[in-house]
Symmetry: none
Subunit: 232 residues, 2 copies
């Protein structure tokens, strides 16, 4: 899986420029023009590295960096127009891993991104290895680590099987998953017996908790005679 990179800069043109260069290297880019939006991305997307501008309309980059550090481990590269030494020290001390001053050469930034990621993955190497842990689909957030699930910020308390089913649907979003496949993925192949509607029952419970009605489902759609799916 490609690494996810968060780019935060209030100057759209700069954020866009960085995005182009990063996408050219096949990274998944998440762009924000302000701090609040950025923090939301951090909680809902699989981020492996953040590039933060210091000057932002709402929260400054240093604070964002600190907030990230409370929960996350991935590298942070600070970006700023000021190049006074004192700022560099502040940034690095607050937990940033690198510091690039504007104006910068895009290729150098990309090189630094690679260096940080190489380091990051070197340490995390076999252990975590970039399995998807977070899935976000239109207000629905699933966290496999904590088994937490929120719908439009509100937590849903799901039972283990409910969570598993939703996870399978979400990780196959955009594709119809037959109830047989669902069953095999959630319970395991060996437990499968045909003519089993327990999947449907769980789907029903899920829809209830998600306030989704079967007639016009917002999330879990049923495809007659085939299975269920979640739109992309």
């Amino acid at each position: 899986m490609a690494a996810g990179i968060l780019v935060v800069d209030d100057e759209q043109s700069i954020a866009d420029l960085i995005e182009v260069y990063l996408k050219n290297e096949n990274y998944d880019v998440y762009k924000s023009y302000n701090g609040l939006d950025a923090l939301k991305h951090v909680e809902t997307q699989n981020i492996d590295l953040a590039i933060l501008d210091v000057m932002l309309p709402d929260i400054d980059g240093f604070s964002i960096c600190q907030k990230i550090r409370e929960k996350h481990n991935f590298p942070v590269i600070m970006l700023t127009a000021k190049d006074e030494e004192i700022d560099k020290i502040t940034g690095l001390t607050l937990g940033a891993d690198d510091y690039v001053t504007k104006p910068f050469q895009p290729l150098e930034l990309v090189a630094r991104v690679k260096a940080q990621l190489r380091r990051y993955t070197r340490y995390n190497s076999s252990e975590i290895s970039r399995e998807e842990k977070l899935i976000t689909i239109a207000g629905l957030v699933l966290n496999k680590d904590t088994h937490e699930c929120t719908l439009n910020e509100k937590p849903l308390s799901l039972t283990p099987t409910e969570f598993s089913i939703l996870w399978v649907l979400a990780s196959n979003r955009g594709r119809v998953v037959s109830s047989e496949e669902l069953f095999r993925k959630v319970w395991g192949d060996k437990y499968y017996t045909n003519s089993n509607n327990t999947v449907m029952v769980h789907i029903r419970h899920l829809r209830e908790k998600m306030n989704d009605n079967a007639e016009h489902p917002k999330y879990i759609k049923t495809v007659w005679g085939v299975g269920y799916k979640i739109e992309k």
Copy 2:
């Protein structure tokens, strides 16, 4: 233990200057004025970070960096007079973790050293070689060296297994740990037998000592059908 830092520069005055600043921060400094000597240090001393000048009389800094990378994992900061973009990219691509151009501000260099070391120990902490020895989570402090544990300054007297369990939970904070995983990590894989509720019993004892009630636990939360977790 203070971190060991290797400083390599053929200009003695510069190496000495860096040494002064690093010693001031209580690092163990190993100085070399040429590449061969530097590589000898790498093999014989406990090095946690290297600062390499690119221009050296015998071997160039990039080659030293590559040699280091064959066997070691610690961060490398390249140091050079050339500040053309292409060189930076070369350096970072060859496995360096940061790049500082001369003339540089000593304090900035120190800050970058700190940032790299922080990163290095952060990654090595939980999983790999270098062990995390102290974990602090919201009033709860665990010391692996002494097996001591305090909660809001007050010491808790935990039995060895209790400590181990709490340690596993704490070092995986923010993630649900299944009781099977807990068992395997505390007792070892080979002892695992299914249908074992001894973990739960110990959890119960822990909660008792921590004054945590199962209904609204402040520390050890149970995730039904999945496992236990401590919040980040």
